[in-house]
Symmetry: C2
Subunit: 486 residues, 2 copies
């Protein structure tokens, strides 16, 4: 067992460009975001990964509350008879449901579904709670775990159980329902771009990509380095479909009994998978500062028994913590170089190195994770007592630069195409977001999917008149981004 006490080797991950999938899995595991578990399809979110999730939750939750939403919690288990009430919905989710059939030693007379999503149980409760137009709108969000029976496992991207938030609202008019759907779409876009630093295209989905039971689905779509799109958040206008199925009615001001208009919307830990793939490099993760569990890590450098740096780091870290920064001091026995690699792998935005000479000069050397080591400006030395002023600027600069890099990638991998052959080639080659005038016909979308594996990601209004569909030549109705997707 002496290996366990030998010097720890630097954790290696394969180069990102060669095989994104291998890089991704290695980065998630070795940065200790997740572990595989003995439960098929399920991963463990380790403390560092949970730190990412907590920051997502804190930022989104504040935005939800600022727009009048409240949190609540609904049951995990849903009786089968309830699930069956909305036909499209149950058809869409039935293949993915995990069923409880036994409780203790008792065999249940009715199976209970573990929620794959909560429209059904929440709709049932809204039907009880809502009586009059004065009870509307109801604006509720839930942070919860859901289960969808999946064969494959990819951390954050595809797991049987995952964490998410699901908003469910009820309104008196179709217009208010649609406004809510779009308000949340914009909230998601703002969060993705300004917190996760992941640029997205936001828009309406095609009928084929719609949520089962929705009148209209909207989504934000990010572009991964392998040219695949990642749907990162969805907002559904459910119209009166669920209100009819679950009998959500209210007495309006005009004394008429009407069905409410409902919406639902969700972001899951999948958003973290997108953030990891978009920003990471060959050294590992690069976490945008606003999402970073650790914004800056101190590495004290001990030379020839001179360990004064440890105390200097500890004191400086304490001061920064009191000023609201998320910092850590790495006092382990390993060599500084090994620590640098480990914190690079884990994507901490700023490393603060302090050695004996820094102690004498009251300085600290800052290394920023967003720049390459070859970049002369990657490291700089500052006065120790200026850290609390220097750090916010540096973190803000890193946040901006990661977003700018990702934005440049998205823009340079978005292809506005008018030629059919070029369109098919780009879709097949997984070139990125392929932007065409499109007819919006399901048959046309099916053809593209069969030939190239690409589907529409989001649609937006057509500008100008008389355009024809790049795929089939029929009159175009919208502009559409096509891409292969996760």
């Amino acid at each position: 067992m002496s290996e366990a006490l030998a010097p720890v080797v630097v954790k290696e991950i394969p180069p990102k460009a060669a095989d994104l999938s291998a890089w991704y899995t290695a980065a998630c595991l070795k940065a200790e975001l997740v572990s595989y578990s003995p439960v098929r399809g399920c991963v463990v979110l380790r403390p560092y990964g949970f730190g990412l999730w907590e920051n997502l939750r804190t930022h989104l939750d504040a935005r939800f509350k600022a727009t009048g939403h409240e949190n609540a919690y609904f049951p995990l288990l849903i009786p089968e008879s309830l699930l069956l009430k909305e036909a499209e919905h149950v058809e869409g989710f039935a293949p993915e449901v995990a069923w409880v059939t036994q409780g203790g030693s008792e065999t249940l007379s009715e199976r209970l579904a573990i929620r794959p999503t909560s429209e059904v149980i929440i709709g049932t409760m809204y039907a009880q709670w809502i009586e009059s137009y004065r009870d509307l709108p109801i604006l509720i969000n839930q942070w919860a775990n859901v289960v969808r029976w999946e064969k494959a496992t990819r951390p954050f991207l595809r797991t049987m159980e995952f964490l998410w938030q699901e908003g469910h609202t009820a309104h008196a008019t179709a217009e208010e329902g649609r406004d809510e759907t779009l308000r949340i779409l914009e909230l998601y876009r703002d969060f993705a771009e300004n917190v996760a630093a992941v640029p997205v295209y936001a828009g309406r989905k095609s009928a084929g990509e719609r949520f089962p039971g929705a009148v209209e689905t909207f989504a934000i779509e990010a572009l991964m380095p392998d040219g695949r799109a990642l749907q990162s958040g969805t907002s559904h206008d459910l119209g009166q479909n669920f209100a009819r199925a679950y009998d959500i009615t209210f007495v309006d001001a005009d004394q008429q009994i009407k069905h409410a208009y409902t919406t639902s919307w969700g972001v899951s830990w999948r958003m973290l998978g997108g953030l990891i793939m978009v920003h990471g490099d060959d050294r590992g993760l690069r976490i945008p500062p606003k999402m970073a569990p650790i914004e800056a890590v101190f590495v004290p450098i001990v030379r020839s028994g001179d360990d004064r740096a440890i105390e200097v780091c500890t004191t400086a870290a304490q001061r920064l913590r009191q000023a609201g920064f998320r910092v850590r001091v790495d006092t382990r026995e390993e060599q500084p170089g090994w620590k640098y690699s480990e914190w690079d792998l884990r994507g901490v935005p700023v490393r603060i190195e302090i050695g004996p000479r820094d102690v004498d000069a009251a300085t600290a050397t800052l290394a920023r994770r967003d720049r390459d080591k070859s970049d002369k400006e990657q490291r700089r030395t500052v006065a120790l007592d200026s850290l609390a002023e220097v750090l916010p600027e540096l973190l803000s600069d890193i946040q901006t630069s990661l977003y700018a890099q990702a934005k440049a990638f998205l823009e340079s991998h978005t292809y506005v195409v008018q030629d059919r052959a070029e369109f098919f080639k780009l879709c097949k080659d997984r070139a990125g977001m392929v932007d065409i005038a499109w007819c919006e016909r399901a048959e046309c979308e099916a053809l593209v999917k069969a030939e190239t594996s690409a589907t529409t990601r989001v649609l937006r209004p057509l500008e100008g008149a008389n355009a024809t569909c790049v795929v089939c030549g029929e009159p175009a109705k919208v502009r559409a981004y096509f891409a292969q997707s996760y």
Copy 2:
């Protein structure tokens, strides 16, 4: 349907003293903390109830993090074979497990348990993560839902699914494990008394009341108004039992392979049930300010078309919100008296009334929920611009006074007894906490339970020598609180 538009009637709840159980259920439902759901044994935590839970979570989470714990998330589903590894544990939980046997259209070859608690899955992961003594301690907490198959349903106290936190730690020595167990016990006591304002007795449980698989269980026990104890938090020293069952080993500094020492500890939403029962009165809830989703509610009084109070309240509320207070303005159309009753029912600590005369005089009238209406000091008028100074003192005073009332009740219902007949009578009568010198024998405890339904709640060291057990006359080993319990 015209009833729905008729003036809303005041929600009534039965008197608390006559039938605590009826009062409790009515208070929970009518204050909109919870709703019953169509899922047997499961309740919905509505936004106001979730606000209580969020405050519990915020306070406890800060305490966990301040003592070095990190959050993580482990799978909901546990393969049956894993569950079977720790014999006592599985025996204790098997009757309460909900089993998943089908996924989509597939019948599973191995049943999956919905976690009734997570020692098993977390222990399995710790076995993978821990190699050397340098990896210890591991201090992880999880906020999660768990399911225990229950027939009865009482909001917060007994539900099939509930929300809780479960801490799971691993240590290199027995002493560190025990220290952790006791550190958490003290943390729970501090939270219960200083945040939930619920006085408790903290101590060790008897062998019969121990967690299945634990070496020693510690708990905090509160006393409800009906004389029953409510176990409100538990902290388990698991010794090496789980480490042996799940193979959690490490190489120690002396190069020997050893089993780790683990602990687990949890507080659930049951704590909210205790808080509600302890503090409530015939008018409804009385929520301690530190736990209150709404610390103060403004009720603007509109008279003869003079609605200036609405704007004054809105402006004042905005200022208080910016200063960090949790406040709301009730601008609904109902009469002030109806609103007073409703906010009394919901237990908001302070009501701020502002009418036309207050607007003229730039004053506000504060009514405190902890005092009876007959109390001359229940209401007082203050200058409007002094609210931000007056409110913190008032809230702090209410917090203190609720705790003092509950503490007085606990003390006056704790009986130090030396006579066997008196002991049996007090236990049977559900008089409160009955404190005796006790032999610590299982047979003795079983006898008391059979005769009176009371069990030991917590034990503490015996002071002095040569005491004999009040029940059986054998030599006493500890002092014990006996009570009937929830």
